[in-house]
Assembly symmetry: C2
Homo-oligomer: 200 residues x 2
DNA sequence: AAATAATATTACTTTCGAGTATTATTGGGG
DNA sequence: CCCCAATAATACTCGAAAGTAATATTATTT
């Protein structure tokens, strides 16, 4: 087996970084199976066996990318827990900003996002954790009286995650709409619904 | 190349059907690439080359399953266009029923649904068509005054599709909730939102 | 500048599964 | 009951891509 554990000089660090970047692109464009190690490293000007100087296997580098995405997303979600004692009319602004941050992160890391959300077989688990975080946040806000009490917040969180995924795939990553705009529309829909009696 | 175009007796029809069923299972469980022709066909008690009596290639049978899913879904969506002159208080019931039908279809065809919605590389296009249908339905209902006018129905349709996908994956196919229940919760959320001023 | 560690290459093995050629068996219509 | 098409099996080919062995080159350290 390859031994990518040993110590590395400046040149190696650089190569490893370049491979990571190229691999992110490759996996994002072609999916796991059609992505070729040979094609990844050749983008960096290396030959195929050099790959195994830095990574155990194709699977190993893919997992590394999954983990990178997941940990960054988790940090972001944790930061967006609203503090106590927010004014009622601040609420929608705050939620909007949290959503905007998430969309901005996705947009700035398109390829990594595609991997984490759509390509990885772990995407289901990634979304589950994301959903749990959101549920917790929503429950806190519900018991603070910001939301009506006869709604199942676990269900709302699932829905919100579904909307985020779909909007990300179809409107954000394709460049049709910007984070600000999307965040505002989601908040409006989730807070007030479609009923014509909510007309402002 | 194989010649699966020639005519077929009763035995062949049966074998072809069995292979379709087994393939649906296999693709649903393992995804396209890890699915093996040998494994599909052995579930039916045949050997690998017999497969090519009935299908051109691995890709061909997969496409056949994609198309099957898509056409069934399309039929279902078309049927759920609401007729004119529905009473306001019937509205939520009718939407709920349409959603319930869709969820029931998904539940009765779990494996095919997994393929069409989550495994196929065409899933994006499948969802796009689905979204367009829904947008049309929603626009008709909006201009009939059922929904408030200052909401972008294309966006709502995208959101609804996102919710349907996510809920299907996490709550429906896993058997945690039933179609009726899910449909009701979605309608409630989309019509009235979370705002505590909509408390009933 | 010699020694040694790191980085890379060329040339290979291996595995695995799709698809084919050829031959055998079955079963239903005359 | 016999023939021919339909159905199936055995035994292959072929290609693609992952991963390895052995060796050469470059960078670094003392």
């Amino acid at each position: 087996m390859a031994r990518p554990g040993r110590r590395m000089g400046a040149v190696g660090e650089k190569s490893r970084e370049l491979i990571i970047t190229a691999a992110t692109r490759e996996f994002s464009q072609h999916g796991y199976h059609k992505a070729k190690i040979s094609s990844i490293v050749s983008k960096v000007g290396l030959t195929q066996p050099s790959f195994y100087l830095y990574f155990e296997s194709k699977e190993a580098i893919f997992k590394e990318l999954e983990n990178l995405f997941q940990s960054r997303l988790q940090d972001l979600t944790k930061k967006s827990r609203l503090g106590v004692g927010i004014h009622f009319n601040e609420l929608s602004t705050r939620i909007r900003e949290s959503l905007k941050n998430i969309f901005e992160f996705f947009l700035e890391n398109k390829d990594l996002t595609r991997i984490g959300l759509f390509i990885s077989p772990e995407s289901k688990q990634i979304k589950e954790k994301f959903t749990i975080q959101i549920t917790e946040n929503l429950l806190a806000e519900q018991s603070a009286g910001y939301f009506r009490s006869n709604v199942d917040m676990a269900f709302v969180a699932e829905s919100l995650v579904g909307v985020i995924m779909q909007i990300t795939e179809s409107l954000l990553l394709s460049g049709q709409k910007d984070p600000e705009n999307l965040a505002a529309q989601i908040v409006d829909l989730f807070l007030y619904g479609l009923s014509s009696s909510s007309e402002k």
